[in-house]
């Protein structure tokens, strides 16, 4: 799916977008994890709203994958959402990695 997003073919991008939307809205945790994996692979900072949705997911496994995707997406708008979960022990290590991947702006 990530390859379709970067193909440059409008039809392929629309198809991939529809598929990604269905994964994002799925009741199945594994689908939402896949959505985060795809966003991480696409590594486009404009996907940050979908990542915010996944960072606020009730499942910790989805949150963890979204945090990992945030490291490659690199959008400073994600930082407040990452920091808001810094108190969660099981997510802290990946948040620290994802936060420093945002670059020096994270300090501000």
């Amino acid at each position: 799916m990530a390859a379709l997003f970067s193909s440059g073919d409008l039809n392929a991008i629309i198809r991939a977008g529809q598929k990604l939307l269905s994964l994002l809205g799925s009741a199945d945790e594994q689908d939402r994890i896949r959505a985060a994996v795809v966003i991480g692979r696409v590594a486009d900072k404009n996907f940050y709203t979908s990542l915010i949705q996944l960072l606020n997911d009730p499942s910790v496994a989805v949150q963890r994958q979204a945090i990992s995707a945030s490291a490659s997406t690199r959008n400073i708008k994600l930082v407040p959402y990452l920091f808001s979960k810094l108190h969660v022990d099981e997510l802290r290590r990946s948040i620290i990695t994802a936060s420093h991947a945002q670059g020096e702006e994270v300090i501000d």
Partner: protein
Amino acid sequence: MIEREQSTDFDPSMIPHHLEIAALTGGPKSARYLRELLFRQPALKNKIIKALKEAGYESPGNEHGQILDLAASLFDEANSIIGLRNSVNGEQTQIVSNALLIELQAREEALFYLFSFIYSRQKILSALDNIRSGNKERMANGAEVLDLTIPKKLCSPLLSLVEYIAGTEPLTSKKVAGPDLMIAMKNLLNRAELSLSAWTRSITIYTMYQMNPKADYSFLQVIPGQADQIFERNKELCACKKSAKRKCCLLKKCCC
């Protein structure tokens, strides 16, 4: 990060994690943040100093006074720790004594890093490498470089600390008996101003329990806690209604 720390709902226990992010991120902004944190969070100074060293920090002239004040406080801490170490010189407290030696090494390292912010970074860090090598000739070279690089009033106490840490004679002081050891360890736990590590405090509580599980540990409830899970866990165990044997087992599991 800075913006978040200024908000009213910010949890200060998150600062060590911010520090870690800044240390990993590096660059001038991180260095500015860490430098500001250094004077705002004295309890974290050893970690902040290490992060600043990693960032290649060089202190501007107008900050040298503050850096030297910090060095003086580290020397005071080191002297207090040596005093504590002599007071816990007993047969059953070797592990506490070793933990205090690690505390001293952390202060020694922080002092070298602090001086590297003011004086020749390359010479001071290379002197530290030589001193830590364990090779007598290299250690002597390291001491000589320090002597030539930093003022005598700073070099003398630093070399005394280096010699104490490198030497094997520190615990030739008189062996302390059981009841006095318990008082000394209680005193150690009450020295919040020394910012002793979670490990040192945990191992001290553990050793006290090993020596006397029936002692009164209610004093632990009033020790100001730093956001430190191991210590909190120890405190919980000390307060809970389990058998002494069970408490010892749980404390050992928690500490080791």
